[in-house]
Symmetry: C2
């Protein structure tokens, strides 16, 4: 049990945050890099988290009237060019399909053959292809609103990739909607933003700021981009989801028109919005500690593990039977809209290795049961939101009856802890000098650990924003919705400004 | 109501079966062709069927110990070449990615740029890339069996495509497993085949024959391929799912080895298996009639629709309220592992148009409620497994209480009808002359309507099989498992043979 003396993950967060992240992902067996540049493999424990994200978001999308559909993986090259900003944003990094088969050359080596008349792009996002189809689906005001979502893979040829956070291929959902009026499209854009924010807080226990992006960070082709922004434990911001009001830009480039009730032909208004497997990265970095992954119960693939402690052969069968009965009783307990999910780890390996394996996988509750616990009708319980050594004996039936409440308590604790961390590293800053001080690495022990979120008055001048980004490596994460109506003087220019959040970001 | 005099779909099955299929898909709004050659768009009603297929299969895979994961979309070109039969099978039709960005030329026209060192193939199936990863995941006998499934899109550059049945891009699941022994791998292969067959019968109400493929129809790289084969209404066979025993072929080409309990390094044994959106095509062709789609309740996106009949303005509000209450009560009724799913169609369009719209969409039960039904506390019920005009008045509360049983009755009827159809068009044939007679088009009114399934003794000689395929356009669909032990003389050569099923196929 030598490992209990130190932490399970090396390096620790304070020693080397980026490497700590990679090691947490590895130790929890969530994902790994693949032989294909920039593409990751999502392993079962990581994919089960993504399935839980999908299930809950899908439920919320359907409840709010959206329906799923599926559109082609490929986009004709010419489509990308229809919207000027859009092509600018996506042409620089995309997978281009140019051939339709392989042929062996004289030396028996395969070569691309069957060149295509028009190259195809593997979708980096689907506005252009979906726009083309929507222009046929939408004819009359009776066809509106059209509320569609797609679960899919997309590809952006990123040069610097990191598991979950930035990969060439990633999984996501992309919503695409069409409305008769600007107001309705804007209402949809903000409704989705709220769904994202509520989901992040309620399920991922990840507090987020909702707000509008400045011009520099807007989606290519959007009039307005909203985002949810979360603070990671290195105090950098993670953009965890975006919702775009596209105005009539794509309606015009794709000719999405409808006949109004008054018989007029009108251009429609569209929105698009998405979250991706990046959410898993945000989840990891919000809660995990130097012992590995920490999972909020509502998103965990399993809620608790039972570990039979059977040092002596003669009590083995009885302990195992006791554990199986315990599992059955726990699995009968309700949690969320389902039941408590229980793993029984009866693998024939050392107990310490087993326990630390589950700590590193982030399972919310560990239950150890040995012959003496069994005699006392007790279980020995460890919680992932407390130190690994901090375990307590609980009466078995009390534990079973209270498991739902315990899981909710852990969920709430993790959210409260993440909120407290964010608040602790958020400052209201009123002068340029304080701003520079706040974001200057020399004032902190580790230059890789950042200052946090600075809430400041800013005139939102794009050139000034660009200059600040270059000088201090920080950007405007958003103009928070909560204070969007405030008028505050710009701390750099003294001009009238908005309240914005500056931070370093992923 | 002119439409009620004739059928809703034109042409009918007997007039032009392939065109009837396209029109059913269109009338039910299931899918459409896209501007990208060979790629389809799956529309919400069609996608909801696929989601139901996914949900139930996923449940069965997980229940039998499989876990989901996600692997890269791209496969390096050289990987495909590792297994000789495999590259032979897939190199001829695949999407090849050769560039990583687009650049505007002097005329502002986009051109592929950033050529890749090694071209990438969009996965047509993932044995080679998953094999590469499994070779790292599998080290010891303790790591086995490894039971993984992936839900994904794949691309095969098909020249002749048809919605759902054969498309360049399609959605599927692909299972990939690794085992310590040949027996265990074979057991897995057959277990999955049974899952497919049970699912097809129990949910799609599509009876299937399970059996082994002959060499000619084997998966490229497999030692044994099993399939489920269903009969469509043109009496052609549809291969609806396959399960492959891959022997040690991919273990050797990908170096999947494990250390046995005895400390020996051994090559593992692998399997792979898949079903795709093609199942939706099979579903359509098994049950639909000349009025459009017919959906078995267990797979239908919604089980019933309530259509308020409100000819007079003054009773409109009361009828609508009555219908809303009816919807609520129906939605409280259990069906399968959930509840009855109800649509209330209060659109302001003609009643006939509404009714026929739902007939064409295949909804299992239609309920019409007018002011007089309301007074009598009755509902007017039409079932999709009966003629559209065949409706009956039922006491409202009796109907609500009996809805679960009614849906099961419809489900069972559709399966029984499909089984009867298949049996009616299946023959045991004992001579070459009868075989030729059975498959010769001149003996039937419409050469496009085929003879059905011929059960014959066959020596399984590949050259003879090829000759028969060319002469009669029929192939061995499978060697049915149910009679695999029988020794029967070949009707062509008199040599000892197996009992096989010959048919025309999709």
């Amino acid at each position: 049990m030598a490992k209990q003396a130190k932490n399970a993950i090396s390096p620790t967060r304070s020693e080397d945050y980026p490497e700590w992240y990679q090691q947490v992902v590895k130790a929890a067996d969530l994902a790994e890099t693949s032989p294909v540049r920039g593409c990751m493999v999502i392993k079962p424990w990581g994919y089960a988290i993504w399935e839980n994200i999908q299930r809950e978001l899908d439920r919320r999308f359907k409840e709010s009237g959206h329906r799923n559909a599926y559109f082609p993986l490929f986009i004709p090259m010419s489509y990308l060019q229809k919207e000027a900003d859009h092509v600018e944003g996506f042409a620089k990094e995309c997978a281009v399909v140019t051939h339709s088969r392989l042929e062996a050359d004289d030396e028996g080596k395969l070569q691309p053959a069957g060149p295509l008349e028009e190259p195809l792009i593997v979708r980096p996002t689907s506005e252009t292809i979906i726009g083309e189809l929507f222009s046929k689906w939408v004819q009359s005001y009776r066809d509106l609103p059209l509320l569609i979502n797609q679960w899919a893979n997309v590809v952006r040829w990123e040069m610097r990739t990191r598991l979950f956070l930035r990969t060439a291929e990633f999984l996501w959902q992309e919503g695409h909607t069409v409305h008769a009026t600007a107001d309705e499209a804007m209402e949809e854009t903000r409704k989705i933003l709220d769904i994202y924010a509520d989901f992040a807080e309620e399920f991922l226990a990840m507090p987020v700021i909702t707000g509008e992006k400045t011009e520099a960070e807007r989606f290519p082709g959007a009039d307005v981009t909203y985002a949810i922004e979360a603070m990671m434990q290195d105090r950098k911001a993670l953009q965890a989801g975006t919702s775009h009001f596209l105005g009539q830009n794509f309606a015009k480039s794709s000719q999405i028109k409808y006949l109004s009730a008054e018989g007029q032909e009108e251009y429609a208004w569209t929105t698009s919005w998405g979250v991706s497997t990046r959410l898993v990265g945000g989840l990891i970095m919000t809660h995990s500690d130097d012992d590995g992954l920490v999972l909020p119960p509502r998103i965990a693939p399993a809620h608790l593990v039972i570990i039979p402690v059977t040092p002596k052969e003669e009590t083995r069968a009885a302990v195992l039977e006791y554990c199986q009965k315990l599992q059955k009783d726990l699995e009968a307990q309700p949690f969320l809209d389902g039941r408590v999910k229980v793993e029984l780890d009866d693998r024939d390996i050392r107990g310490g290795e087993k326990t630390w394996g589950w700590v590193k996988k982030g399972i919310p509750v560990r239950v150890e049961v040995g012959p003496r616990d069994m005699e006392k009708n007790a279980v020995f319980v460890g919680r992932r939101d407390r130190a690994p050594k901090d375990k307590e004996a609980i009466n078995r039936d009390e534990f079973v009856g209270g498991i739902g409440a315990l899981l909710e308590e852990i969920q709430n604790n993790l959210l409260a802890k993440a909120k407290a961390f964010r608040d602790e590293h958020s400052r209201e800053i009123t002068s340029e000098a304080d701003f520079v001080e706040f974001f200057t690495p020399k004032n902190r022990e580790d230059p890789e650990i950042h200052a946090g979120f600075a809430s400041v008055g800013f005139c939102c001048d794009p050139e000034l924003e660009d200059k600040i980004a270059k000088e201090h490596k920080v950007t405007v994460r958003c103009i928070p919705n909560a204070t969007a109506d405030e008028e505050v003087p710009c701390i750099f220019t003294g001009k009238p400004g908005k309240r914005v959040v500056f931070a370093k970001s992923y």
